[in-house]
């Protein structure tokens, strides 16, 4: 099953739409609560990343009886040093974003911690593609 969600840049109030919808579906599937929690945390962080840093983004969810795969693609500045971005506490978020309570630099490492597969590719000036998967069993 495939679901697709668009993410609007700068709209923090709209963030969380995809993770809430996915949460409902996983509850319908009777997926273990601890797995649902990991998916929701990872997806919410990914949504916030796009809202905070990119110009536009899209989330594609591919769901089968083995795993939930989430592909988050954005058009934006990209990440010059992925190694740095993977360090806890490192953040390039603007003051405005930090004032809203986001941008503590926990995003990418937190996503990695909560997923079973994690892959990130980025081209500076073009955008970032984050692919992650959580196994359902």
């Amino acid at each position: 099953m495939i679901y697709s969600f668009d993410i609007e840049s700068g709209n923090f109030t709209g963030a969380g739409h995809a993770s809430s919808s996915v949460k409902k579906i996983l509850k319908q599937l009777n997926v273990d609560n601890s797995i649902i929690k990991r998916v929701v945390v990872a997806l919410f962080e990914a949504e916030i990343n796009v809202v905070a840093h990119a110009d536009h983004g899209n989330i594609k969810i591919i769901l089968d009886n083995q795993e939930i795969r989430m592909i988050v693609k954005d058009k934006g500045p990209g990440i010059p040093d992925i190694g740095m971005a993977m360090k806890e506490g490192y953040s390039t978020a603007s003051q405005k974003v930090r004032e809203m309570g986001f941008g503590a630099g926990m995003g990418l490492p937190n996503i990695k911690r909560n997923t079973d597969e994690f892959n990130i590719e980025s081209i500076v000036g073009e955008g970032t593609c984050l692919e992650m998967a959580v196994y359902l069993n």
């Binding site: 099953m1 969380g16 993770s19 809430s20 949460k23 409902k24 579906i25 509850k27 319908q28 599937l29 009777n30 997926v31 609560n33 601890s34 649902i36 929690k37 929701v40 945390v41 919410f44 769901l63 089968d64 009886n65 359902l136 069993n137």
Partner: protein, 444 residues
């Protein structure tokens, strides 16, 4: 209406003789637990959380809250009224608490206690629980039984976050009955009656979330008793009953919004109103709320003063209770002797009985235990939803097109019931009759 097992007692009932088969209740239900069939509202027992929203909106008062027979009092030698502070808040300022107590005695009660007597003991137990169970953060209060049931059915991942302790009602009734038994009174002679402001509390007494039965013997609706007391007061009954208790301001406002949260350290939240509670639970579930403080949640707007059985306006009642709290704190008559001052032994005994062993998740969202099968159903449901008009008109008897799609895949409805899908005129008449009864179609 269908074969789903009955999970527990519900206080909310539909009087089918009065129900006119309209769409008010199905639209108001926060768990989408009501459908209209054969012209009558039908409640899915596994989905209902006894919040009482349907009771509020029913235009013909067909939804009622089943209480115990008042004559049940006659079965007991010692008849204890456990009155919540909000009951006192229903009367205007000119009427003294001692007059209300006096009327209750004349109605047949031998002892009057306010539920909130147990608050002081409970706060200690809650603080102790929170420091001993840090892995269950953030802590959600167990105070409102409709919140517990909402979490069980819609937010099953949060059951462990509920503080596994009973509420002031339980602690007070346990202490009262234990004291009488310790004084040599036979337990079968003791009848404890709770005066309830809502349906959820009745359901909680009749089928508690934990295994042990509640020590409460009967539940009387607040509006029923209010009428009886007011009638006596209007017949210029001015007798007073001396009050010998040590309630504090903190106790009296416990059931108001913020009444619990204000007693705890750290980042605390006080959420009232069913929609607010749902929004906030969603945030907790997403991991957005980090706190080691207390999250107080009540499904009624303005908490218990907004209970569906309260005869008076919630803001008026709240104002009276706040004034009473100030008065009690400024005039601490019995401050040196707490009504529920407990010896160490007694405290330990009660503390054991206050624990809730387990709050079981009972998701109403899950479609099937088998993932493969559930996945097929989700897919099927998505397809059906795309066929439905997203008007959420309710003409099929379900509150929304989403709820209708779910009913269809659960074999509880059929797509032909949608008036936007089914354009067969003859069938249309039959279907409308099936859902809304045979007196609804208008001929011009």
């Amino acid at each position: 209406m269908e074969e789903t097992p009955s999970y527990f007692y519900h206080a909310l009932k539909v009087d089918e003789d009065i129900c006119i088969g309209c769409a008010h209740c199905i639209k108001s239900c926060p768990t989408e637990a009501i459908r209209v069939k054969e012209g009558k509202a039908r409640i899915y027992e596994n989905k209902c959380i006894d919040c009482g929203e349907c009771f509020r909106v029913c235009p013909v008062k067909a939804i009622y809250i089943k209480q115990d027979d008042f004559d049940l009092l006659l079965n007991y030698k010692y008849r204890i009224a456990l009155v919540p502070a909000v009951f006192i808040g229903q009367f205007n300022e000119g009427i003294r608490t001692s007059q209300i107590y006096s009327c209750l005695k004349k109605l047949g009660f031998t002892h009057i206690y306010e539920v909130e007597h147990g608050v002081g003991v409970l706060i200690d137990m809650m603080k102790n629980y929170m420091s001993k169970n840090p892995e269950n953060k953030p802590f959600i209060s167990s105070f409102c039984p409709a919140v517990i049931r909402l979490i069980q059915v819609r937010f099953p991942s949060l059951v462990e976050n509920i503080i596994h302790l009973k509420v002031p009602l339980d602690i007070s009734s346990l202490i009262i009955s234990q004291r009488l038994i310790d004084a040599g009174i036979k337990s079968e002679d003791i009848g404890i009656f709770y005066i309830t402001p809502c349906a959820a509390k009745i359901a909680a007494v009749k089928s508690p979330v934990e295994k042990n039965p509640s020590p409460i013997n009967g539940v009387i609706n607040m509006d029923f008793l209010y009428n009886k007391v007011l009638l006596m007061l209007n017949n210029s009954d001015n007798t007073v009953e001396p009050i010998n208790h040590s309630l504090t301001g903190r106790d009296v406002v416990w059931s108001l919004t913020g009444g619990e949260a204000s007693n705890f350290k750290g980042r605390c939240f006080a959420i009232d109103g069913i929609r607010n509670v749902i929004d906030f639970l969603d945030k907790i579930e997403n991991g957005e709320i980090e706190t080691d403080g207390l999250i107080e949640m009540r499904v009624c707007d303005q908490s218990c003063t907004g209970g569906v059985l309260n005869p008076n306006n919630r803001f008026v009642a709240m104002e009276r209770l706040k004034n009473r709290a100030v008065y009690l704190d400024e005039n601490p008559k019995n401050s040196n002797q707490s009504t529920f001052a407990l010896s160490k032994d007694f405290y330990d005994r009660i503390a054991l009985m206050m624990e809730i062993e387990e709050v079981k998740p009972r998701s109403i969202l899950k479609l099937d235990d088998n993932l493969q099968k559930a996945l097929k159903m989700v897919e099927h449901m998505k397809k059906i939803e795309s066929l439905l008009p997203s008007v959420d008109c309710g003409a099929c008897g379900a509150p929304t097109c989403g709820a209708m799609a779910e009913d269809i895949i659960r074999n509880q409805s059929k797509i032909e019931n949608c008036i936007f899908v089914n354009k067969n005129t003859q069938e249309f008449y039959t279907i409308i009759n099936e859902i809304w009864g045979d007196d609804k179609i208008v001929e011009l």
